[in-house]
């Protein structure tokens, strides 16, 4: 297969990240609205992420999970994560899918 076809895309990265859950909520980090930016260039994925609180105890765990998940994608050779607090996360960032999912398991937001 030509190298170009194996190059990861932004959509591919987002789809993969939809499988990474926030350990505190049964919802992916994408649906939680924690992913601010995604960049892909020459096999390097650059992510800008936020968290719900600066004291989020799961920050390290989530970043490890993201790395594990993205490095398994064909063509990804490095993952660079930047944590951003600007703008601060708010409940408005939850996707409708997250709201439905959270409601279903009784942890409605």
């Amino acid at each position: 297969m030509p190298e170009a076809l194996r190059a990861p895309t932004r959509e591919g990265v987002l789809a993969a990240l939809s499988g990474v859950a926030d350990p505190e909520w049964p919802v992916s980090i994408v649906d939680m609205g924690l992913v601010y930016e995604v960049g892909v260039a020459e096999g390097v994925v650059t992510l800008t992420l936020t968290f719900t609180a600066t004291a989020c105890p799961c920050m390290e765990m989530i970043q490890e999970d993201i790395r594990d998940c993205l490095l398994r994608l064909p063509g990804v050779r490095d993952v660079r994560i930047e944590v951003s607090w600007d703008p601060p996360w708010t409940k408005d960032r939850l996707t409708e899918r997250a709201r439905v999912a959270l409601r279903r398991c009784g942890v409605t937001v």
């Binding site: 004291a55 105890p57 765990m61």
Partner: protein
Amino acid sequence: MAMTDEQLIERIGQGHIVESPGEMTPEYRQTLIHILTVSADTELISAPSYYTAARNVPSMNNLISALAIIQDELSHAHIGYRILQDLGVDTEALIYDRDPKQFKHPYAFDVPLRSWIELIVANAFYDRAGYVLLGDVYRHCSYGPWRRGLAKVDKEENFHLRHGENGMRRLAATHREELQQAIDWMFPMTVEWFGLPDSLKTHGKQIGYRLKGSTNDQLRQTWLRTAVPLCEGLGFRVPAHHERATDAYVLDYPLPVDFDEAERRWLMDRPITWNDVLVRWKRRGPGNAMFVEMLQRGRRQMRETVERH
């Protein structure tokens, strides 16, 4: 209209939820107060116990997660004592004037945790016991205010035990020996927590009042059903195994056995009686006085300041 105890049990059996003290018989009220006190004391004492272990955590992240858990435990205790106060109990005296030995938490919290590893195992074992016991109350509870309060408790205790499980998984490779040592004394400790076997204790009233749904042995079995596979899955030894014929978990030692407090070691070849266990529980363990002192310190200081000349 005064109700007899039999009438109340019948109504509760039909699904009635009690909402106020006016609807209770004295026996129901006493039973409720007893169970609530055990529950609130247990949540409360876990705070100084977990905090003492959290002081030695390896990273700031660990400290933050320990504090998050402690905050939950204190909130759960608060919910219990608030309900007790609305039932007419003098919670001021209950929390701040009670002799440490009179606190009604399980003996497990009288044995101080010494490390981050032990705190992780406490989350995986002790908070799982809390989750099993309170989940049982939550699903059956006939007292409305507590039942509603337990929705939060149920959810958060589940988070704590997952925190413990994840911690054990992450540390299983690098801290194998320390984890096994913690499991060796904390596993039988949690098994004992569930109390006298059904053959020695009946819970007619508590179950009739729907302040409890299952018996001690059933609850112990529920705990074993998830705790044993967790440990075995990670390759740790536990003194219990699954028996296919009965689809039950069976202990590999005669419950109860003697516990060496100083060495924190179970003497598996020294069976004792439940009476002996009750004596140890009543005597309380090495951390009891210190933990209760931590809990009462701030209020005592305030009182002294107000009264001082």
